[in-house]
């Protein structure tokens, strides 16, 4: 079953500029594998090893997947997946060495 995945600007180089692409999977993990099959390279931008990257947010039907089971979050027909990079930064720790 296909769900719609909204792709942020920075990852549209992997989707030929498309803002949204269909992908299949019964879990978020399967969905990302399916995305990777059609848009090689995108998986690495979403995952850090076995986990979602800290500064990439994924929402299923507007719920942050960190609260719905992460990569095991189940997906069904007509679900909508949104990928958004975190907007974050800051001065960071004061470094003694630089």
């Amino acid at each position: 079953m296909a769900v719609e995945v909204r792709i942020p600007t920075i990852l549209r180089t992997y989707t030929g500029g498309e803002k949204a692409v269909p992908a299949e999977g019964t879990t978020l993990s399967e969905l990302i594998d399916d995305l990777e099959a059609n848009h090689p390279g995108i998986k690495e931008r979403l995952l850090d090893g076995e986990d979602l990257r800290r500064f990439v947010n994924v929402y299923v039907n507007d719920e942050d997947v960190r609260f719905t089971g992460g990569l095991d979050t189940s997906l069904g027909e007509d679900d909508q997946v949104v990928v958004l990079p975190a907007v974050a930064g800051g001065a960071g720790p004061v470094s003694a060495t630089s």
Binding site: T9, I10, N57, Y59, L84, V87, G89, G90, A91, G92
Partner: protein, 145 residues
Amino acid sequence: MLQIYGDILDAIIAHAKQDHPNEACGVVAGPEGTDRPERFVPMLNAAASPTFYEFEPTDLLRLYREMDSRDEEPVVIYHSHTATEAYPSRTDIGLAQEPNAHYVLVSTREHGNSPGPVELRSYRIVDGEVTEEDVAVIAPTEPSG
């Protein structure tokens, strides 16, 4: 070059002063493809920290949905540094994920919450590459018709 209305710049600076000593953050949205920052949207710094900022993930989704429905994009992403200069840190560079945005930095290190001039500078941050750009202040236009 970043062209931005004076009243929006003032609003960014006021937000930075208000949240000092924590970092303040937000966006100025504008019609997609125009490079015109028009709608000031201050955001909550979920980190509530003097050295880090992050939009709260639920607020982030709401913001992007709202921009989507208005055919807008984040033309400016701003935040403050409260003890250091208005120059992108390694953290800023590593986490910059909007290649089309102007990253505006304000330093409140000199006057904190008090009135007084601040350092405000603008950058493009693409693939880890920082390019500073001029900031041109333009007068607000009269609302039309």
